[in-house]
Symmetry: C2
Subunit: 574 residues, 2 copies
């Protein structure tokens, strides 16, 4: 492809809303164009990259016996009513009525469609296991689209669904899929992808993992134990806290004028935050009733863990009314209105002697002992794990906190969908059973943007050879010079004939502008043809990642370039 | 792939709603599953076929310098407001509001998105011409989805958009694209595809062609001249009528009791339908006002031609009220309420002496002469062309009428979109101009189903080698016989290793059932391994289309099979 003929413009200044490097570079490099909030059109370079990523994904899915199928983007609501998700999923799901007035949805995931496709055909245990997958457009009405292709509303996703007759079989397949995912990310050139235990959220099921590309700009927070290798999304990470036994003291109400925050109380009483019983107030989305989580003063509540424990949607309290009986800044469990739902975090276990609010302006209690002053309570884990926390597996207090971008996920779904949608098969004993499902997703565009985020310099992306839009870019520095022009043209044609994917910059522009564009296009191998190189009878070859620079004799250039492309490619053929 | 592991069921009885062979066979063969009206999930065989069709399309689009891009399925309504189509397109376009209350649409075509992608980047005449295309899901809320994948609501389409600085350049590119389309249909194995002049409909623009796969089940009616090769969609075909001069007669009102229809009037007056001035009544959609088309008594009105002439939507009159002044069965131009819109078809030119209604129950006029009795009128062509009509190009009265399925279309759009969306470039004189566009579509699923319709027998599809889901099917007739089993397994593996796409029926079922399934799967080359063939040291090889049957020695079978696959494939490599 010739740059002169390629649609798309490259420019110096990133659009103002680009706060992430990959977003800025992909806008500046002519990779995509904003159409609407979280909706982009993709120019040819991106389409070429995503096509290569999709090819890698398909090969790996086929390798683990996947059967490629195609589900619809638009589905009748009735299908989603069967699973119950038509009502349980909120405004992330786009809905409309067709011309006949029938409610329709845009697929944001395809468990329902997968069960629908399979349920009338897989009817005997002998038909199992199997896995079906598709690569298809999805629409999720994300409230906070951001970061270019990192978090969009419309995206291309590979989603796969496996069906099994036993939990053991699902687990074995889950493991194969886990390995396939590792291969996919390696082959696509993503260097720092790890899998972490995750929260299953709205998908249902129990065991699940997310594949996280480690990155400071990631929206997910991960707890990693360098000692034993434990890795979990913060939302799924157990927060273990060990409290040292202290002395029992009498419950005493003390005057703490204006001491509302943890810091103020700690300072006023000359104690440690670890001795405080902090109250965090939420409201139930449904009716705005209050939920108070009590947690050790130095810790934070993880909202997802709290939500999973409660089983309903909540939000941080937006208004604490006078009638609520809640005295903001001085909230405590003693004397609290019994209508308020209370949750006790496990971090409070074993503290004999706590400071807590007295539910009265400017007063706290000291010496609070939960067992003595409240009675038996249920402790649950709703605390956010933190750097230096105790590893829930090896017990060492060495947890590290990292940020990651979720580039894939795998779920053991169980029978949530096959039961609700009544998919059954006859087992070997002639009895009807519900198959056990797994599901496995990868966002193609997000993976592309994440790799750009991981592999770039300030001049542009550095695409791995396996997914680069082109393998080689030939820069003709003087198309008005006959020798240079003929040499560059001939090399371009020769490389094409040898099956190398070549981008050819044949424009009559300054070398600086041409190189800036080449940096933005991120093609791994660059070949420069100039009067200087022609005089020497060579072309100049360099790698975008700066790991190689050399000169090849013109006559041998095409063969040698093809060879280095093959060598680079081979690194990703694991 | 092993049939035992393949999801999808084949069965004998077509679902009741299948009135078209391809639909019935593709349902019976486990190719697809009904999800909702005009919405299907596709099983692996169909996905494999459509992937091959898409590959052929991409190769041919790339060959004519196309750049693959990707537009969104979901677009903000604002983009469609720019072109005016947000209001001009009716309920075929699905619309919804996103969580922010913004009106969104599902793309049914992507002219707006193409202009949006190109308009900020192609700003100088030197940037032209270029063509961008995508292969993407579309949703059109068809009122009459039918025939399986022939007419659906959700479908995969290749849509391409070219941009030019002159009409001549557009026309030259249009011709290249026409040739590319011919190659695509040939390579995909469609045998009877012709291009016909078409009506441009809602796309705007003037010149356009449809590629029609000739088929009795086609919804489009085509006029073809066997003498000169003229081909047009009936909606775009000029209807030429030659009337012989007759004698002028006086205008006479005659009593024609109960003679309302053409047949009744012809019989009552002992004349020919060619002497009648027939009135066909329509109503404007907007306000239900009346439109009457007068046409020669033996001809029919083509509604699309009439609509194009009027420039607004109409429907056949549903109710003729007493106040309308229209006397059904006795309508004529003389004395008609002047508020009623009248259209004169060209077929009435040159008839000196007509029979027409007298706008009075049970009365007609004879001897009506339009020039004398009505005055100067504008004649337009709104008549349906018919078998034996005069060819508008060569003038011979030999027009033939055929049915066709539209598998592709190409349009010269002109500046409709670039003007309304204000896309401009600087020409060589430094002046701002609007680029001239063409657009080019192919429905992938419809092409798949059309080829099935064209190439099948009563037992199943006969897929062309170039798009067949697999190239070879190995039928193991006795997987419980060790020799047969080992031979078939080994052949399957060997063929796979040689890069042949093999479906392997390894199920322990009766030969009759296995062959019935194989017929439904339509794989071009069938290899049978049975005790009989093993005794002879051979495998039996036959073509699905019955053009070949033979035996190959087991040791040579894989090589020979690969060879015949290559030979077959080469037939489509034009």
């Amino acid at each position: 492809m010739k740059v002169s003929k390629m649609l798309g413009e490259r420019f110096k200044q990133a659009p103002k809303d680009c706060i992430i490097d990959s977003h800025a570079l992909m806008m500046r490099g002519g990779y995509m164009k904003y159409v609407g909030n979280g909706i982009y059109s993709l120019f040819t370079p991106t389409k070429r990259i995503t096509t290569k990523i999709e090819r890698i994904i398909r090969e790996e899915m086929d390798r683990i016996d996947g059967q490629e199928v195609m589900f619809p983007v638009v589905m009748p609501a009735t299908l989603w009513e069967e699973s119950g998700r038509y009502t349980s999923i909120g405004s992330e799901m786009a809905r409309f009525k067709d011309r006949g007035g029938n409610p329709m949805v845009l697929g944001m995931t395809h468990e329902e469609a997968a069960v629908h496709l399979a349920r009338d055909t897989a009817k005997s245990y002998a038909d199992f296991p199997f896995m079906i997958y598709q690569v298809q457009t999805k629409f999720r009405d994300e409230p906070r689209a951001r970061g270019g292709l990192i978090r969009v509303r419309e995206f291309t996703m590979k989603d796969a669904y496996s069906f099994h007759t036993s939990q053991a079989d699902l687990e074995a397949y889950y493991e194969r899929c886990h390995e396939a995912y590792e291969r996919i990310f390696k082959r696509a050139g993503a260097k720092n992808v790890i899998s972490v235990k995750s929260d299953s959220g709205m998908m249902g099921g129990s065991v699940s993992h997310e594949f996280m590309l480690l990155s400071e700009i990631g929206e997910d927070t991960l707890a990693i134990c360098p000692a034993c290798g434990y890795k979990a999304n913060m939302e799924a990470a157990d927060c273990l806290v060990k409290n040292e036994a202290g002395e029992i003291a009498p419950l005493t109400k003390v005057h703490t004028p204006n001491a509302k925050t943890i810091e103020e109380v700690v300072k006023f009483l000359g104690t440690s935050a670890k001795n405080l019983c902090k109250a965090v107030v939420y409201q139930k989305n449904e009716d705005d009733s209050y939920v108070i989580a009590f947690i050790r003063g130095d810790l934070e509540v993880n909202e997802t863990k709290l939500r999973n424990h409660l089983g309903y949607e909540i939000h941080p309290a937006t208004a604490i009314t006078e009638e609520s009986g809640i005295v903001a800044g001085f909230i405590g469990a003693i004397g609290l209105d019994s209508k308020i739902k209370v949750v006790w975090d496990r971090s409070l276990v074993g503290i004999e002697n706590l400071v807590c609010g007295a539910n009265e302006t400017d007063y706290h209690f000291t010496g609070m002992n939960i067992a003595r002053d409240i009675g038996a309570v249920e402790y649950v884990d709703v605390a956010k794990i933190y750097a230096g926390a105790v590893c829930p597996v090896c017990g060492k207090p060495v947890i590290e906190i990292n940020k990651g971008i979720e580039v894939g996920n795998i779920f053991q779904l169980g029978t949530k969908y096959t039961k609700s949608m009544d998919m059954t098969y006859l087992d070997a004993n002639g009895e009807l059973q519900h198959p056990i499902m797994g599901c496995y997703g990868i966002g193609v565009g997000r993976l592309c943007a994440s790799i750009c985020q991981e592999s770039h310099d300030k001049f542009g992306p550095i695409w791995p050879m396996s997914i680069a839009p082109w393998q080689v870019e030939v820069c003709n520095l003087r198309c008005d010079d006959e020798t240079v022009n003929n040499t560059a043209n001939a090399l371009y044609e020769e490389l094409l004939n040898k099956g190398v994917e070549v981008l050819y910059d044949d424009r009559n522009i300054r070398p600086g502008a041409m190189f800036a564009d080449a940096d933005l296009l991120g093609v791994p191998v660059r070949v420069v043809v100039s009067p200087k190189t022609c005089d020497k009878g060579v072309v100049e070859v360099s790698f975008r990642d700066k790991s190689f620079k050399g000169e090849f004799a013109i006559a041998e250039a095409a063969d040698k370039i093809k060879e280095i492309v093959q060598t680079e490619l081979a690194k990703y053929n694991i």
